[in-house]
């Protein structure tokens, strides 16, 4: 039986949020940020197993997380890309044996996962090696010159989100090739893109935003409260 594994990347530093622990262990409405994603994947009928990637210093915190499908913990690396590589290598034997056929790569810094979207992303893998959620950029993007001047506006950008879904074999292979070439991607799909493989884009969900700054953490509180309150008639 070929399974779907969720790789939850929880190795980012908490410095910008003023935390001594990793960012993923900063509380959001009373529970560690990463617990939100673990609970979501636990509840998804499309996910069979979860691998968590944490910094070695957060291993003890990680073992106290309760998630039914959490089967392994891998060490994070220097960058997001390296953490992702470590996660894939931890699953490599199962991927090569064909036991894991699909991967969801997810940032723990995005606590509000849309499971209906997860299902659509996985379905898209029947046609394409990769599928990612994204939303048209709401902010105007521009390049900054070395002397601090505006230099060229960027039109038509899409802000990509996670979880990103991939056929496991091609992603593992592309990641090994990236390692050999010294390439580090800012997201998972870029690793596949550089090998010329198609990545489908599906409409993302604004709630699945990424927490980077204290302002984002405040937004997580606002979103969590809205999501837990009964739907209002007026929307």
């Amino acid at each position: 039986v070929s399974q779907t594994a969720a790789v939850v990347l929880a190795a980012g530093a908490g410095r910008r949020l003023g935390s001594a622990t990793g960012k993923a262990f900063v509380p959001v409405e009373g529970k560690p940020m990463v617990a939100w994603s673990l609970e979501a994947f636990d509840a998804s009928p499309d996910v069979d197993t979860i691998l968590l990637v944490v910094p070695p210093s957060d291993r003890r915190l990680a073992t106290s997380l309760k998630a039914r499908k959490l089967h392994a913990i891998a060490d994070g690396g220097e960058t997001r890309h390296d953490s992702e590589f470590n996660g894939l290598e931890a699953l490599a034997a199962d991927i090569e044996a064909g036991d894991i056929a699909r991967l969801l790569i997810h940032d723990a810094a995005r606590p509000f996962v849309d499971l209906a979207l997860v299902q659509r992303l996985l379905e898209a893998l029947a046609e394409h090696p990769g599928a990612i959620p994204a939303l048209p950029a709401t902010a105007r993007l521009v390049s900054r010159s070395t002397d601090g001047l505006l230099r060229g506006f960027v039109d038509g950008g899409w802000a990509v989100q996670t979880p990103q879904a991939f056929r496991a074999g091609p992603l593992l292979e592309a990641h090994r090739k990236a390692r050999a070439d010294g390439f580090r991607g800012s997201d998972t799909a870029s690793v596949l893109e550089r090998t010329g493989q198609t990545v489908a884009v599906l409409q993302g969900n604004p709630d699945t935003f990424k927490i980077t700054t204290p302002v984002d953490l405040l937004r997580a509180q606002v979103v969590a409260r809205r999501r837990s309150s009964p739907p209002s008639r007026k929307g």
């Binding site: 902010a139 230099r151 899409w158 990509v160």
Partner: protein, 231 residues
């Protein structure tokens, strides 16, 4: 030195799929636009304020302003079809007694601070044109017409544009008049100046300085107003 604040708040939004900047969403019992205007009204460096509203919002905005007290003259006028039109109409309304500088600010960004206004003016005084920007924390891609990734946008030099934006009055007026003649359509004023080949200097914006588009954003502004150190 005279500085006129120009606040486009026509905010019909959702035209051409652009996100709606909702200036009438309620924040702590006030409309967003009332709070934005207060920030400029209490700032010593601002001479006067010109507000461009839509026909649809005119009554609501006028009523909101009448319930508050103001230290500075506030001109309320009808904006145009687009944000660009609104700013141009605002600029043209100042031609009788032109200010030295114009500060353009989104009506739906009520958390603009004295620091942002000051830094914008300082930067414009030195360079002629200035815009607030914040670093980008996300990965952006281009997507083709078939719904596939075209490319990942190199992000090391990428920033996102905010307001305030501050300009020499003669520069920005000239740019807008040229845009009309040559049918140049842009999303913001710094882009127009840049398109006409003048340098626009970046100064540090703030993640607090968010634009209200959704009810969540209005709750965010309330939470941030109660937490002055969160940035």
């Amino acid at each position: 030195m005279t500085v006129q604040a120009l606040i486009p708040a026509a905010g019909a939004g959702l035209r051409n799929g652009e996100s709606s900047a909702n200036v009438l969403l309620s924040v702590n019992g006030r409309s967003a636009i009332g709070l934005t205007l207060k920030a400029f009204d209490r700032c010593d460096e601002i001479t006067g304020i010109t507000l461009m509203v839509s026909q649809r919002n005119l009554l609501a905005v006028t009523h909101e302003l009448e319930t508050m007290t103001w230290q500075k003259p506030i001109e309320v006028m009808l904006g145009g079809q687009t944000r660009q039109d609104s700013v141009r109409l605002g600029l043209e309304s100042l031609q009788q007694s032109p200010p030295d500088y114009v500060l353009v600010h989104d009506g739906a960004r009520p958390l603009v601070s004295d620091r942002l206004i000051h830094d914008g003016l300082e930067t414009a005084r030195e360079h002629g044109a200035a815009t607030a920007c914040v670093p980008v924390n996300h990965t952006y891609k281009h997507v083709n017409g078939q719904g596939f990734v075209e490319n990942t946008i190199e992000r090391s030099n990428l920033v996102q544009v905010q307001t305030p934006q501050v300009f020499r009055y003669d520069w920005i007026l000239e740019a807008h008049e040229k845009a009309v003649r040559e049918r140049i359509v842009v999303e913001d004023d710094a882009e127009l100046i840049e398109k006409l080949g003048r340098p626009v200097k970046i100064f540090a914006g703030s993640y607090r300085n968010l634009k209200i588009s959704t009810p969540d954003d209005a709750r965010m502004v309330e939470a941030l107003a109660a937490d002055p150190v969160c940035a």
